[in-house]
Amino acid sequence: SQKIEQNSEALNIQEGKTATLTCNYTNYSPAYLQWYRQDPGRGPVFLLLIRENEKEKRKERLKVTFDTTLKQSLFHITASQPADSATYLCALDEGYSSASKIIFGSGTRLSIRP
C-alpha cells in the first residue's frame, strides 16, 4: 500500500542545534516533494519544494535533500531557534498534471528548547 512516514511524531532539541526530520515513502513516484510548516490553529505554510532530479535545495537556514533511490527526504533546520517550534509536514506531488493534489504525511512536531 502507499505510505508516507515521518520519522517521529515529536522531536525535542536544544536551541542552536540542527534539527533533522525524515520523510520516507513507499509505492509513490513523486515528481516533487514539498515541506510545509503548520502552527496550531493555522493552515500549512509552504517552505520548500524539491524536484525528483534535484538532490538538495537550500533556503536560508533550511535544507532539504531528496533521494529517489532510498525514497527518502531529509529536512534540516540549522541553528534552530524556539520560533522554529511547529509541526512540519512532508508532502508528495506525483505531478500527473501541471497542478495536482498534494499527499501529506502525518507530520513531526518539533520543539526547540531555549
Partner: protein, 117 residues
C-alpha cells in the same frame, strides 16, 4: 495581498444537520483545493477545481459532500446530512495558473473546524 480565507472558523452542529463551508481563494488563482484532517490522521485531499470546473474529485468521501465553485471565484463545500465521522478541520488552498513554468505552490487557508455531535 489577502491570503486564502475560510468561513466559518468553527462550526458545531448536530448529526443530520447541514453545514456549508466557504473558501475565498487568493485573487487570480484559478486552482482551488479542498483538504480535510480528521482527528489523529494526516491531511487528505478532497477535490480540485480549475476555475469553475472540477478537475479531480477522487478524494470526496461520499455523496453527502457537495462542492461548488460558481463563477470560478469562491467555493462552498456542503455536508448534508452531517455524520459524526465528518468532524475534523477542512482546509482550502489555492494556486495560480498551472501553465506557469515553475511548479506552483499551494497557499492554505486557516481551516474550518467542524464538530458534529
Amino acid at each position: 495581498e489577502a491570503g486564502v480565507t475560510q468561513f466559518p472558523s468553527h462550526s458545531v452542529i448536530e448529526k443530520g444537520q447541514t453545514v456549508t463551508l466557504r473558501c475565498d481563494p487568493i485573487s487570480g488563482h484559478d486552482n482551488l483545493y479542498w483538504y480535510r484532517r480528521v482527528m489523529g490522521k494526516e491531511i487528505k485531499f478532497l477535490l480540485h477545481f480549475v476555475k469553475e470546473s472540477k478537475q479531480d474529485e477522487s478524494g470526496m468521501p461520499n455523496n453527502r459532500f457537495l462542492a461548488e465553485r460558481t463563477g470560478g471565484t469562491y467555493s462552498t463545500l456542503k455536508v448534508q446530512p452531517a455524520e459524526l465521522e465528518d468532524s475534523g478541520v477542512y482546509f482550502c488552498a489555492s494556486s495560480q495558473d498551472p501553465l506557469r513554468e515553475n511548479r506552483e505552490t499551494q497557499y492554505f487557508g486557516p481551516g474550518t473546524r467542524l464538530l458534529v455531535l
